[in-house]
């Protein structure tokens, strides 16, 4: 990764940290996307068939990593900082971020990706 994107990433991460300090995670997530709508998208997209997702019935898949304590993750997919923006980027086009990985591009809209990111930030 070239230095400039890294700087932007670090800046975004810092901004997210400051924002996290300023308000609760749930409020922060809501400003970015709607966690309740995100939860519905997660159900409809069958995320639980590959991921353990706390609080979702039948979300017990073990093909991908469990999403427990997701808000505390530092790295998404091994390459992105766990900020709502970067997370939404990953959710929208996982194949562009890590080509050839098992998670498919699910054709989420920008808003759906933000909503799912906001939902994942509620998993403490």
């Amino acid at each position: 990764m070239s230095p400039r994107p890294f700087g932007a990433l670090a800046g975004a991460g810092l901004a997210a940290l400051l924002a996290l300090g300023a308000c609760s995670d749930r409020e922060h997530g809501r400003a970015f996307g709607d966690p309740d709508r995100g939860r519905i998208v997660v159900g409809r997209q069958a995320c639980g068939s590959c991921h353990v997702i706390p609080g979702l019935d039948e979300a017990d898949g073990l093909a991908g990593p469990p999403l427990t304590h997701f808000a505390h993750r530092t790295v998404v997919a091994g390459v992105l900082a766990n900020t709502p923006q970067e997370l939404a980027r990953w959710l929208k086009s996982p194949q562009a971020v890590v080509p050839g990985n098992a998670m498919p591009d699910m054709a989420l809209s920008d808003q759906e990706a933000r909503d799912v990111a906001a939902f994942l930030q509620t998993l403490r």
């Binding site: 409809r44 590959c50 039948e58 898949g61 050839g100 098992a102 498919p104």
Partner: protein
């Protein structure tokens, strides 16, 4: 009335009351439109739990008698892939392969099957594919495929946990087209293994 019989009378009266009230509530749910049959809203949590749990136990119990082969050949896996990619991937996706966009609009939504072989035994997978699942969109593929074609699918599902997205794509590029449905291939009676009527 003697003591014990008085007790019994109370229980009978209570049971009848529960039966009448329960029946009335059930009929009300059925006829009033209170049950939301739309696919655009998710099941209520208790309904989702009850139907899903009943489905799991039904399959486990009913598939117990299915005798699965002890191993599958590579040819079966490749043939199963061709079937899967044509008939299953739209709803169930694959490694790195999204479902069709409309699959998310099905309730209950069809799962990805990357770890299906860790959830179900080969016999159970055969039973599910062969018989389908009521009140989901899962068809009974045994109605249109021969048993050996269903076993090919099971062979593929057994291989799926170890199949990378890259290898799925390579299979897609190289695989032969799937064998046709029964109706195009052979007389259905013969294909089902039954003896001809005449």
């Amino acid at each position: 009335m003697p003591g014990p019989l008085k007790w019994l009378g109370g229980w009978v009266l209570g049971g009848l009351t529960a039966l009448v009230v329960g029946t009335a509530v059930a009929l009300w749910v059925i006829f009033s439109g209170a049950f939301d049959a739309t696919a655009s809203t998710p099941h209520l949590a208790p309904v989702a739990w009850a139907t899903h749990t009943a489905m799991i136990h039904s399959i486990r119990a009913r598939a117990a008698g299915v005798k699965a082969p002890s191993r599958f050949t590579e040819a079966q896996v490749v043939a199963g892939f061709a079937e899967y990619d044509l008939r299953c991937a739209a709803c169930h996706g694959g490694p790195g392969v999204p479902r069709a966009t409309w699959a998310a609009a099905i309730t209950p939504t069809p799962p990805y099957l990357l770890d299906a072989a860790r959830r179900w035994s080969p016999g159970e997978l055969y039973f599910i594919v062969n018989n389908g699942v009521k009140m989901t969109a899962m068809p009974a593929w045994g109605e249109v495929e021969r048993p050996d074609q269903v076993w090919d699918l099971v062979a593929f599902l057994e291989a799926l946990p170890g199949l990378s997205a890259g290898n799925y794509a390579r299979l897609r590029a190289s695989a032969a087209p799937p064998r046709p449905f029964l109706e195009g291939a052979a007389p259905p009676a013969a294909a089902h293994g039954a003896t001809p009527a005449s």
